[in-house]
């Protein structure tokens, strides 16, 4: 365990009746790291997060958060962590600014912080809008702002991009990156594997209460030794022609495209370039979804 670990989780377990929600999870998160916990719904991500935040007591195992134990409730520790909750954890009928000012007061922070975090999450123009008049993406950003108003060192985000449209998701990614640039440690859960791949320094893939793999996304994908798919428009090349290329493992045609699978994409691409067949070409490498498939033998279903 490194000295700069912001979070150290050691073999935590939590059962609800017969269901083992968290079944022996261990990991550490370094200071300033953007750590993702991935997995389908019901994988145990949220329960793991809640145990680390100190909202639930683990049946066994231990958690060290910024050098302290989050359970039982530790009032000294609370100002140093920020937890984003459901995008509904607001006071009735208050404007975005009033929400943040109220939370700021709970932490003894000046009301001016409200304006700063509103700007950070890009809600300055919605400052005087009541919570019930905000869109889904705006509420999500406000809930993140509420977690940041007191300048915590560690930020927990539980599915911040769930149920957002693609544009709102991308806007939020910018917010998350901005938070990381401020030197915060971020622990975040998502069931969007593509998103985790883009944002996270390191991810833990969870399924059925256990961590199946934990590494930087690129390492996980590379470790798969999965084929690269080169996809061409149908008719750009015959299957027979494609099979002649060096390193081609498999060729497959459907209604719209011809897919070449290879572990040596360079010679294949060179051969295609020689023939001037690069128009409309797509290259798809393995993703975390393939990693998940490989780890569980199941297709990933968010």
């Amino acid at each position: 365990m490194s000295e700069t670990a912001a979070i150290a989780v050691d073999d935590i377990r939590k059962s609800y009746g017969d269901l083992k929600a968290v079944d022996g999870v261990s990991f550490t998160v370094a200071e300033g790291e953007f750590f993702g916990i991935l997995g389908p719904n019901g994988a145990g991500k949220t329960t793991t997060l809640e145990i680390i935040e100190g909202l639930r007591e683990p049946d066994s195992g231990s958690v060290t958060l910024l050098g302290r134990s989050p359970w039982p409730r530790d009032v000294e520790l609370l100002p140093r962590i920020g937890v984003q909750l459901q995008a509904s954890a607001f006071f009735d009928k208050l404007t975005a600014r009033e929400q943040l000012e109220t939370f700021a007061a709970l932490y003894g922070v000046t009301a001016a912080r409200a304006g700063e975090v509103l700007e950070l999450v890009g809600l300055t123009d919605k400052a005087e809008t009541r919570e019930d008049k905000l869109s889904g993406g705006q509420r999500q950003r406000l809930s993140i702002a509420c977690a940041l108003v007191h300048e915590p060192d560690v930020v927990f985000l539980d599915e911040p991009t769930a149920a957002l449209d693609p544009q709102a998701r991308r806007n939020l990614w910018d917010v998350l990156r901005a938070i990381q640039e401020r030197g915060k440690t971020i622990v975040y859960t998502t069931h969007y594997l593509d998103e985790a791949e883009i944002l996270c320094d390191r991810v833990a893939i969870m399924d059925r209460g256990r961590i199946l793999a934990m590494d930087p996304p690129a390492t996980l994908v590379r470790g798969l030794d999965a084929a690269t798919h080169v996809i061409l428009e149908k008719g750009a090349l015959t299957e027979a022609e494609a099979r002649e290329f060096a390193g081609v493992e498999e060729v497959h045609t459907d209604e719209v495209s011809l897919t070449i699978s290879t572990r040596q994409p360079a010679p294949v691409l060179a051969a295609l370039a020689e023939r001037g067949r690069l128009d409309g070409l797509q290259v798809r490498t393995a993703t975390l979804e393939d990693v998940f498939l490989d780890l569980t033998g199941r297709e990933y279903r968010a």
Partner: protein, 350 residues
């Protein structure tokens, strides 16, 4: 830069949520006010129910009778016309004075009123006789009423409606706040902030008391208008402790409802089950004194009954400080016991 305390900012947040919610405002202020106005107007005359008398002619007895202030005259020109009215049952009786002769006719069909008419006229005639003789009366009667218009409708209905309105908004307010805060994860958010549960609780209680005080000022202020004619007793200020303890007791009941209920709908239903029977059986809308004995006994278990009684005793009946003991004791007991149970049942999350 201002740095308001957690208590102040939580109270401010609750107040803003309150005044920005039109439905809550309606049920807190206008709904009970409607009851106050309707009942206040309906009961306007019942308390001052004067006996109507047919009057023929004039004289010292008729004048003295009028001065008692307990009868209302309907004047007739002829004896026959007045007798017909009495016979028809439109009037309980008539008085005629012609010189020294005073005539009383009454309808025996209404025996109570007949007796009242005879007693009244007889008494007045005796008094006038004594005055005329110029002799000092040997016996004197000192009679003063003990209550100031205690029977008048508005006197009765104001403390009742006020207690009911305060009880309802305290129970509903506390229960709904708890349920929505739990459901929306505001409770969880507060738990993650470095503040004590007691800060959150006291801020919410302060808002409930503030709302109750505003209700009291509006309701009593309105009832004091000449059209309703509420007259406060000299010891009205003794109702303040009863009022505050009652408000807190009902807040505690609301917390208990909110601790059990999982959804807003369940909370509203449960709060209604708690408040409505209590409202009807505690003398809010009609005097419980006229109810059968067993009902009166049952009503004693309701905190609203004691709040009602306390408010009535001090606002209008002018009772002394010794009458504080029972209502304050009961309401304090409810607060402690119900509050304790609520704190046991309470959970931060579903």
């Amino acid at each position: 830069m201002s740095r308001p305390s957690a208590f102040k900012s939580l109270a401010a947040a609750a107040v803003k949520g309150y005044v920005r919610d039109k439905a809550t405002l309606f049920f807190t202020f206008f709904f009970p006010l409607m009851f106050l106005l309707v009942f206040g107007l309906i009961f306007q005359d019942t308390g001052t129910d004067k006996i109507k008398l047919g009057v023929v002619g004039d004289g010292p007895v008729i004048s003295a009778l009028e001065k008692t202030g307990t009868v209302e005259f309907e004047r007739f020109d002829s004896m026959d016309a007045a007798v017909t009215k009495v016979r028809d049952g439109d009037l309980p009786g008539l008085v005629a004075q012609n010189g020294d002769k005073v005539t009383v006719r009454y309808a025996q069909s209404d025996q109570t009123r007949a007796a009242m008419v005879q007693g009244l006229v007889g008494g007045v005639v005796d008094k006038v006789n004594v005055q005329v003789t110029g002799q000092a009366p040997r016996f004197s009667v000192d009679s003063t009423n003990v209550e100031d218009q205690s029977l008048k409708g508005i006197q009765y209905i104001t403390p009742g409606i006020l207690s009911w309105a305060v009880a309802a908004s305290a129970v509903f307010g506390a229960a709904l706040t708890l349920v929505t805060w739990r459901k929306k994860q505001v409770l969880r958010r507060l738990r993650l902030a470095p503040i004590n549960a007691s800060t959150v609780l006291s801020a919410r209680v302060a808002v409930t008391i503030g709302v109750a005080v505003v209700q009291a000022v509006i309701f009593v202020g309105l009832a004091l208008l000449p059209i309703f004619g509420l007259k406060l007793s000299g010891t009205w200020y003794l109702s303040i402790p009863v009022f505050l303890l009652g408000t807190v007791a009902f807040f505690a009941i609301g917390m208990l409802v909110g601790a059990f209920a999982k959804t807003e709908d369940a909370a509203v239903g449960a709060a209604n089950i708690v408040v409505l029977p209590m409202a009807f059986l505690s003398g809010t809308f009609f005097p419980i004194d006229n109810a059968p004995g067993w009902l009166k006994a049952v009503s004693n278990v309701f905190p609203l009954r004691h709040m009602n009684d306390g408010m009535l005793n001090f606002l209008v009946r002018g009772k002394g400080a010794e009458a504080l003991l029972l209502p304050c004791g009961v309401l304090l007991g409810f607060t402690v016991v119900v509050g304790f149970i609520a704190s046991r049942v309470f959970s931060w999350e579903d």
